[in-house]
């Protein structure tokens, strides 16, 4: 602080000391000028800020602290104010450029006040260096810009919703996928407008539940059909987190989403192909069994026919027909018709194309129903089909037709293998077992020709076959079906000869009805 003269007219010595302390300790530069713009006071902060010492500055025109154009015009500003009383800067802060001694310019906030002491006007200026603040602001906007570019570069959709479900942020990818501009989407009721109607209620309640959880560690994964501009739903797989404010209140959600529409479509296409193949393979198996099944239907038809003809003969006979006997005949006819119908019903179930449908039932029921289909085939090939089921209930949750297809396939193979082995007695056994690891094992055991050693894994490959007829698809499809059910399909040699094919199924925890 300079010790130069200060007008002392009405200032006490005490006040002078206080003013000096104030000026010395102020962080901002404090500069007092007279009505011609000459510097009267220049505090230590001003010295540091501008690079002039107080001694150098005092008496100079304050314009030296300003860059152009203010540098040349400043004199006019003061003159105009003094003449008209109109000031653009007095009493209000303003951001301006300030000039250091070395000519460099820095951003500053300047507040001006007029000091009316005595006759002539004097002005006091507070100058706050904004260099750091500006830098921080630049850093912030840089960070923001960078963040935005990250958001935009991201190959995933990034979406922020507020607690009412309105869009507060969506990145470029999100706009691209949906075919909207950012401004069209911002503020939009996301669930009400963008979620496909069929899923809307579920999503709305899930969103509410998620917000209520208030747990920022809880991530929600869900797949939602989202309506794009063209009205077609896109399947988006989302992973969401809660957004909390500083007080820990839930303010919304942030989600990253991946457009899985094509993947889903491809998966669905693969599934459809598999279903077709499974169906064709089933048909092929059924075709191989047609002879046996025809026999199975022919038997009740024969019984019906013979009963009916016998009944007719009884009626046409000597007139003393035993009506009780006739009633028995008619009951038998009915029972045999139902028996034939049952075979056809089973057959239809196997031949029909239908969507996958899982139900819970006992393993023994699964095997039992299959026997109706497999038995005639076995009989036709002179094979004794034995069934050995464990007594305890073994509930499984399966697509019955598909698992029966697997079983049928294994039984068919076993029958063929025993026929190929030529020597009697031909035996095929179906047995169930409860494994220690909460799995059920169903095995088909034969005393047939066994497996060629080198073929034991190849038999599960598509189109691999050791038979002269057959598609070579049965086992590969069977293995896939079993895998889809969470089980395994494998084979081993039987002693002294033949093969054992087994598959596992997880025990269902569901209560068997």
């Amino acid at each position: 602080m300079s010790s130069s003269a200060t007008p002392a007219s009405s200032v006490t010595a005490h006040a002078q000391l206080e003013l000096k302390a104030l000026l010395d300790t102020a962080v901002d530069a404090i500069i007092i000028i007279d009505d011609r713009g000459r510097i009267e006071q220049f505090n230590p902060s001003a010295e540091r800020m501008f690079g002039f010492s107080a001694a150098e500055a005092i008496g100079q025109d304050v314009a030296i602290l300003m860059p152009e154009p203010h540098r040349t015009r400043h004199g006019d500003y003061i003159a105009r104010y003094l003449r008209t009383g109109e000031g653009h800067v007095l009493g209000i802060g303003r951001e301006v450029g300030a000039r250091r001694r070395d000519g460099s310019v820095f951003p500053a906030r300047v507040s001006l006040g007029e000091l009316r002491t005595g006759g002539s006007a004097r002005f006091v200026g507070f100058v706050h260096d904004l260099t750091e603040a500006k830098q921080a602001q630049v850093d912030l906007s840089e960070a923001h810009r960078r963040a935005q570019s990250y958001l935009d570069l991201a190959e995933v959709i990034l979406l922020a919703l507020d607690a009412s479900g309105r869009v507060t942020m969506i990145n470029r990818k999100g706009c691209e996928v949906l075919g909207f501009t950012e401004s069209e989407l911002l503020g939009q009721d996301w669930i009400g407008r963008r979620v496909q109607e069929s899923a809307r209620e579920a999503v709305r309640s899930a969103f509410a539940t998620y917000l209520e959880s208030g747990d920022p560690e809880l991530h929600a994964n869900h797949e939602t059909p989202i309506l794009a501009r063209d009205g077609r739903p896109r399947h988006i797989a989302w992973r969401s987190s809660l957004l909390l404010d500083d007080a820990g209140r839930v303010v919304g959600t942030l989600s990253s989403g991946e457009d899985v529409t094509e993947r889903r479509q491809a998966e669905e296409e693969v599934q459809r192909s598999r279903d077709r193949l499974t169906h064709v393979s089933r048909l092929s198996t059924m075709g191989e069994m047609a002879g046996g099944l025809a026999h199975e239907i022919n038997q009740p038809l024969t019984a019906i026919s013979v009963y009916a003809q016998a009944g007719a003969r009884l009626l046409k006979g000597d007139g003393s027909t035993d009506t009780a006997e006739l009633a028995t005949v008619l009951e038998q006819i009915s029972a045999q018709a139902i028996r034939a119908g049952e075979v056809i019903r089973r057959l239809r179930a196997m031949v029909k194309r239908r969507p996958t449908e899982r139900t819970t039932l006992d393993c023994s029921q699964l095997v039992g129903e299959l026997i109706t289909l497999a038995e005639p085939d076995a009989r036709a090939s002179d094979v004794v089909l034995q069934v050995n089921l464990v007594d305890t209930p073994l509930p499984v949750h399966v697509d019955v037709v598909q698992i029966q297809q697997v079983l049928l396939n294994l039984v068919r193979n076993a029958i063929d293998a025993t026929v190929a082995a030529a020597d009697a007695p031909r035996r095929v056994e179906i047995r169930t077992a409860a494994l220690a690891d909460d799995n059920v094992e169903v095995s088909v055991v034969d005393n047939g020709c066994g497996l060629p050693e080198q073929a034991s894994e190849r038999i599960f490959e598509p189109f691999f076959t050791t038979k002269t007829t057959g598609t070579g698809l049965g086992l590969s499809i069977s293995r896939r079906i079993v895998r889809d059910h969470g089980g395994r399909l494998y084979c081993a040699a039987n002693e002294p000869r033949g093969a054992i094919f087994s598959f596992t199924l997880p025990l269902s925890t569901e209560e068997h009805p």
Partner: protein, 205 residues
């Protein structure tokens, strides 16, 4: 033909078919015995019981063709009518070659079955008559002494007494005596009758 002395044996593993056949055959006056398996029938059947067999081809364990083989081995003459589902042509051929009477495809008209059963029973009766006759003939021929038998074999070859005497190194008179004994023991009314009986024995051997 007497239905009361003949039996229609039915072998079919399918209980309703078996039961229906029993009812049909009973209603037409036949006496019926039915069996659920080939083995059961084999164990129960005595070869001298007349009748016919209605046999299902496809059965677990021993099938119809196996049963036919076993009966042939036993020289049982029971005529067999096979009944089968469709599409068993190779089996039908095999069965007929092995001497089956007939082959009926299920389901069948009762008249077809009953006609075939009637024919089979007639054939069985004829076979049994025949068999009985051959038995009698054989019995008579067995009464011949070795010398008489030797003379008989040369007689049926059509050789005159003189040639037979030369062949056997005996007198023509001795041949005449043996010849008379042969005709008497075999109850042959003529040379032609003797030849016929001799050929039947040869055929059935």
């Amino acid at each position: 033909m007497n239905k009361s002395t003949t039996t229609v044996f039915v072998v079919d593993d399918d209980a309703p078919v078996r039961d229906a056949l029993r009812l049909l055959l009973r209603s037409t006056g036949h006496s019926v015995e039915s069996y659920a398996s080939a083995q059961e029938f084999l164990d129960a059947y005595a070869d001298d019981r007349p009748g016919c067999l209605v046999l299902d081809v496809r059965m677990p364990g021993m099938n119809g063709l196996d049963l036919q083989d076993r009966l042939n081995e036993r020289r049982a003459i029971l005529p067999i009518i096979f009944i089968t589902g469709h599409g068993d042509v190779p089996m039908a051929v095999e069965a007929l070659q092995a001497g089956a009477m007939d082959f009926l495809q299920k389901p069948f008209r009762d008249a077809d079955l009953l006609d075939r059963i009637a024919a089979a029973l007639e054939k069985d009766a004829a076979n049994r008559r025949d068999l009985l006759e051959i038995g009698h003939i054989a019995q008579r021929f067995e009464e011949l002494t070795p010398r008489e038998r030797a003379v008989m074999e040369l007689i049926v070859e059509g050789k005159p007494n003189k040639v037979i005497a030369g062949d056997l190194g005996i007198s023509q008179r001795t041949v005449e005596i043996h010849r008379a004994r042969v005709m008497e023991k075999t109850q042959a009314g003529s040379l032609a009758h003797l030849v016929r009986m001799y050929l039947r024995l040869q055929e059935s051997a």
